[in-house]
């Protein structure tokens, strides 16, 4: 018996979403809850770490935004505000950036499996960062800039490779991602051999996702890009809703397809580039978080993108807290934790598609 298109589509349902229409009120409520959770996570995880800090005094200092030292010693205060908090904020920026970028790629490429890491876009950004380190080492702004360029080129490569008449089918997209990822991985290996032994070790660690080493200047940049990028992508959410149904449908219904595509590619590449430049390749965030957002809130991008932003921030904060405490005083790369959670989920999604 031949399967009709209707039968085939019935098999492609990956999520069980809520049945109600997404409204402004619902979105506002979801954002309020998630942002509160994020704030709580920032505060609570800053109390956790290899150095024990007194909870009450730390809370007091945090609530005063660092103006009062409360009962903390100078060393403790420095650990809290110079080491932990910046790292947690970076984790939030990286997580939010990667999750919103992932959600947008999925909408644009019409594929729930599209994800910056799996598509090789993170690798593109990593190559860009490496080129910056090797050739422009002194200038630290060269890293996010070249990471952005690397991410953009990788995005274009995947898009061109995966594009068929029906948009990027799961198979074509995964294939395109594999091609781009493996090619860029070999480039990374090649460039690594140009480094000396001591740098290789720390670089490899960084490549797996390392939130510990960011400079003072890059953190505000990462946060600004994360917030601005999320806002721009959310502003295109309604167009993305229609693009998710098909480029032809979206065009017929009045979406400026070309313009939205360019905006999403540029902004998503910027988000991935700034995240990778700051902290290496943290994988699977753009897969796990949007998936969970859609599962609980529906596939309307007007709610999914903001939810992914907050959820991604939460996810990486928690993952990084695990990474830096589970074998304290040593650390695991945060990418290892996100992969441990994300890879099984990816397999599960692939089986259901």
């Amino acid at each position: 018996m031949t399967r009709t298109k209707a039968d085939q589509s019935r098999q492609n349902v990956v999520y069980v979403p809520s049945r109600n229409r997404t409204t402004f009120r619902k979105t506002l409520l979801a954002c309020a809850i998630l942002s509160t959770g994020l704030l709580a996570a920032v505060v609570l995880t800053s109390l956790v770490g290899s150095e024990r800090l007194p909870a009450g005094a730390s809370l007091c200092a945090l609530l005063s935004f660092g103006r009062a030292q409360c009962a903390l010693t100078t060393d403790q205060f420095d650990i809290l505000f110079q080491i932990r908090l910046p790292r947690i904020l970076l984790a939030a920026a990286v997580g939010g950036s990667l999750a919103t970028a992932g959600a947008s790629y999925q909408a644009l490429l019409r594929n729930p499996l599209a994800e910056p890491y799996l598509l090789g876009i993170s690798n593109g950004a990593a190559v860009g960062t490496m080129v910056a380190l090797v050739f422009f080492g002194a200038n630290e702004w060269s890293r996010p800039l070249l990471a952005f360029v690397g991410a953009l080129l990788a995005t274009l490569a995947v898009y061109r490779l995966a594009r068929g008449r029906a948009g990027a089918t799961p198979e074509r997209l995964v294939l395109a991602g594999v091609i781009v990822t493996t090619f860029l991985s070999s480039v990374i290996v090649f460039v690594t051999t140009l480094m000396d032994a001591t740098r290789i070790r720390s670089f490899t660690f960084w490549l797996l996702g390392d939130l510990s080493g960011t400079s003072k200047n890059l953190l505000p940049v990462a946060i600004v890009i994360a917030v601005a990028g999320a806002i721009v992508l959310a502003a295109n959410a309604r167009s993305l809703n229609l693009l998710m149904l098909g480029e032809r449908d979206a065009f017929d219904l009045g979406v400026e397809v070309g313009r939205v595509r360019i905006i999403v590619f540029l902004v998503a590449s910027l988000l991935v580039g700034s995240s990778v430049a700051a902290s290496g390749s943290v994988g699977y965030v753009g897969l796990v978080v949007p998936h969970l957002a859609r599962l609980s809130l529906g596939s309307d991008n007007r709610i999914t993108i903001p939810a992914a932003a907050f959820g991604g921030a939460l996810f990486v904060i928690v993952a990084d807290t695990v990474a830096r405490t589970v074998i304290a005083p040593r650390e695991l790369p945060v990418g290892a934790i996100t992969a441990l959670i994300g890879a099984p989920l990816f397999i599960y999604l692939l089986k259901r598609t």
Partner: protein, 265 residues
Amino acid sequence: MLEAHDLTIRYGQRTAVANVSLTLRPGEISAIIGPNGAGKSTFLQSLNGQIKPASGSVLLDGRSLEKFNRRTIGRRIAVVAQEAELRFPITVLEFVLGGRFAWAANASWGWETAHDIEVADEVLRDTELAYLSGRLMNELSGGERQRAVLARALATEAAVLLLDEPTANLDLSHQSTLLALVRKRCEQSHVAALVVTHDINLAAQFADNVLLMKDGKTISIGKPQEVLTPNLLRIVFDVTVLVDAHPITGVPRITPVHDAHRLSQ
């Protein structure tokens, strides 16, 4: 009103449509009939700007289509095409509300207004999908989904409807109800409709104007009685047909004649 003047569309070296003209008038249904590869769908896609013609012009209410921006075109022209594969879950109501995008006050953010919901509810009633509005599109049958696509096009309140093989997946009862609905919309709201279809009899029944195409060229254009003749249909389809008047409706009724019952030429 939508007019196509002398449209020629090329894919590389191949000419898909050659010098075809057609005028879609408010209140009328036009049909394009032709074999596979005749250029019917290509022609339809050039009418809302999806495909750019190599030469010729498309005029919307007297002005060249190129002068309009996408959103304005989205409000004036709606397309009912074969639905692409849905990979994200979406309810029927959300799907149909997509038709209100072109009316959004804001370019791409913004939420549906109460009026948008009213329009969507009304078209869902008209297409007999109201009871399915909360269901996922993926749970519907092929025919129900096609009706949802029509509902979405009707929700745009466009003055021109372009339908590309709208009855392809529909059972017999829904084929006529869908086109009857299009006819009602045309008459009540002065909408101009164009239907590309393989079903000659359906076209004969519902169309005011028929364009016969073959190999990208216009073979004939006019009323169904004038165009759907055995001679012209043999030229276009390479098949012998018998054309008589439908005993009840009086419209041309086309029956293909196969080898065993060949009529004398």
